[in-house]
């Protein structure tokens, strides 16, 4: 490619630095300060005084919840999502565009509204029950199961898409070669297809794990505030304008994300399966 256009990369590099590094740097600095909305900038000083927040019972429970819900959501989404992605790939329907549209379409509706809709039919008396005569999901509003259900079926498209992309890229002749060598279709799946789709699985898992771990709206709505994830505490700190506490917790999340980024770059250099 022509070197002439290298100049176009420069503004974006500056943009990324301003909007990625500076805010993150500010956040890290604020996490070791006493900064909050009631202080003027001259009163801000470096202190670790508020770090005991990390070891408070409520915070620890929230961290545990975040990890547990994100892990469970990722695992369930992986199992069901892989299954669906594989069925789509196997389906004899020629028009993959339509199938993919079907998977993505729900994502085009407002997330908060969809969650609210789910909450409604998780109540004892709900609109669906008044039509079909029985409660589809039972009276689960406010329970852990409700949160898990909401997370799984909200984020599963992010799992299906990269896996499907990875599956599509596998040359059909590899499957044929395996069967040709005497390996049954079932074993071929485990020995050829699955290992070759791992890239998509890793990407999908991260795309599901990160937003669930750091999210706060879905757990708050579906658990009716019963279940607190780390995101909910950050939300509280934001509302109370204790920014240093919020920053501290966000930095912890950031560290988890950096770890994930390291994993993803080992599998996928330029983020090809991200789409």
């Amino acid at each position: 490619m022509n070197k002439l256009y290298r100049g176009l990369a420069r503004p974006y590099q500056i943009w990324l630095i301003i909007l990625v590094f500076i805010p993150l740097l500010a956040m890290v600095l604020i996490s070791i300060s006493n900064y909050n909305a009631s202080l003027s900038l001259s009163e801000v000083q470096i202190t670790f005084a508020d770090w005991d927040l990390l070891f408070q019972h409520q915070t620890l429970v929230a961290f545990k919840n975040s990890l547990v819900y994100a892990s469970l959501t990722t695992i369930i989404s992986f199992v069901l999502g892989y299954f669906v992605a594989y069925q789509i790939k196997q389906s004899r329907i020629k028009n993959k565009f339509i199938i993919l549209t079907i998977i993505i379409l729900p994502m085009w509706s407002n997330l908060i509204l969809r969650t609210e809709g789910l909450l409604n039919i998780m109540e004892e008396n709900n609109i669906l029950k008044s039509i079909i005569g029985f409660s589809l999901l039972g009276n689960i509003a406010g329970t852990p199961f409700a949160v898990l259900f909401g997370l799984v079926f909200t984020y599963m498209p992010f799992m299906i898409l990269p896996i499907y992309t990875a599956l599509e890229k596998i040359d059909i002749s590899l499957e044929e070669a395996s069967q040709d060598l005497g390996v049954t279709p079932f074993k071929t799946f485990w020995k050829v297809i699955f290992p070759l789709s791992l890239k998509g699985v890793v990407t999908g898992s991260i795309m599901v794990f990160l937003p669930t771990m750091a999210g706060f709206a879905i757990p708050k709505i579906l658990s009716k505030g019963n279940i607190v994830l780390i995101g909910n505490i950050i939300d509280q700190k934001f509302l109370y304008t204790t920014f240093n506490d919020g920053s501290l917790l966000a930095v912890v999340i950031l560290i988890v994300i950096l770890g994930s980024l390291l994993i993803i770059t080992r599998f996928d250099k330029e983020g090809e399966t991200l789409l």
């Binding site: 590899l174 044929e176 395996s178 040709d180 060598l181 390996v183 290992p195």
Partner: protein, 382 residues
């Protein structure tokens, strides 16, 4: 001809895609230890035929018989057949060794003990334990036998020392050899090769043609080879099946197909040839280009119109005064070993090869030996 055992029999096999008979009522018998080539341009149905033998495509009509058994519904993995794919289809997540070992590594225990000989495995297992042939010991024996088989196969295709390479770190020719080893290590009865040399450059291709032929002879495996390259087919095959539009045009040894093409299509597809309209005067006499020629070995009705086929190298250039036919050189090209000439005789232009060089415009005298004159029935529809 000696009586050989039929290994693959295709009986009235038809495959239809979108109302088009890609393979149209083909019957073909392939014998043991044979090197058979399916030859034809792309879209002639040769690959579909191959895929039906391999089991990737089910025939709509007809039977695929292998070893005297009906194989139509048997899935590819159960067939004693292995394929070398056009683009090799090596597993990108495995190294060279694991690619070659793939088939054996994923077989059932019963298959493997049978493959290596149960007695031999048991015996060696006893040697290890010094007593009972435990399952663990037997597994160890089988594992080392797989290891040895894979190394032997890699040695055979001259890839010793490449075991730990990734398959995308080796050249096209080496990938091709890995694909070959991967199939051969399983000792198949039949090896199918789908244009395996198409992606290689000329020199490598010629070397591989020779090696493949040698391997087939040594191992005694039946090779079914698909190609669109007539020269490749000529060099390697015991028999060639020339196909067009899903139909077999001619089946025979390379020599018979070259010398006695049954129709214009085969004559044109297999090398260069002159096709001249003529008349079968009476037994052993044919008239073309206004001259009577002695011929031999063909039986037509007296006075029947025929197409005469003469290969460019079969003309004898003689002195003009002694010549049966004379003409004028209108084109001359030096081709290294020989000269390629175009000679005009009346309205007809003939292509011929000679060792002498001629100038354009020079007169030339030609004669043809009776056994070099081949005749075909005139095709009405073309």
């Amino acid at each position: 001809m000696e009586k050989k055992k039929a290994l693959i029999e295709l009986i009235d096999v038809t495959k239809t895609y979108d109302d088009e008979n890609v393979v149209d009522n083909i019957s073909l018998t392939i014998f043991e230890n044979e090197f058979v080539t399916l030859l034809g341009p792309s879209g002639c149905g040769k690959t579909t035929t191959l895929r039906m033998i391999a089991g990737f495509v089910q025939p709509d009509k007809g039977s695929v018989i292998i070893n005297g058994k009906l194989f139509n519904d048997l899935p590819p993995y159960a067939r004693p057949i292995h394929t070398v794919f056009q683009r090799y289809a090596l597993f990108p997540h495995l190294n060279v060794f694991d690619n070659v070992a793939f088939g054996l590594n994923n077989r059932s225990w019963d298959y493997l003990t049978h493959f290596f000989g149960l007695d031999e495995v048991t015996e060696e297992a006893i040697k290890i334990t010094g007593g009972e042939p435990t399952k663990a010991a037997m597994k160890k024996v089988v594992k080392s036998k797989i290891d040895k088989a894979v190394r032997d196969a890699l040695t055979m295709v001259k890839l010793k020392g490449f075991e730990n390479r990734k398959v995308d770190q080796i050249s096209g020719g080496q990938q091709q050899r890995v694909a070959l080893a991967r199939a051969l290590v399983n000792r198949p009865q039949i090896l199918l090769l789908d244009e395996p040399l198409a992606a290689l450059d000329l020199k490598l291709r010629q070397a591989m043609q020779y090696e493949l032929k040698e391997m087939q002879r040594k191992l005694g495996i039946t090779f079914v080879f698909v190609t669109h390259d007539q020269e490749e087919a000529m060099t390697m095959s015991d028999r060639i099946v020339v196909m067009k539009d899903g139909v077999i045009q001619q089946l025979g040894t390379p020599k018979s197909i070259y010398n006695e093409p049954v129709n214009r299509y085969v004559a044109n597809f297999i090398g260069e040839s002159n096709i001249i309209p003529g008349t079968y005067v009476k037994k052993d006499l044919v008239n073309f280009l206004g001259v009577d020629f002695a011929c031999m070995g063909y039986n037509f009705a007296d006075g029947e119109k025929v197409d005469v086929v003469i290969r460019p190298e079969d003309f004898d250039v003689v002195d003009v005064t002694k010549a049966k036919i004379t003409g004028k050189v209108i084109f001359s090209l030096f081709k290294g070993v020989h000269n390629e000439l175009e000679v005009q005789i009346g309205e007809t232009v003939l292509l011929l090869h000679t060792y002498e060089s001629y100038e354009i415009g020079q007169p030339i005298g030609l004669s043809i030996d009776p056994y070099e004159i081949h005749m075909m029935k005139v095709e009405v529809n073309e």
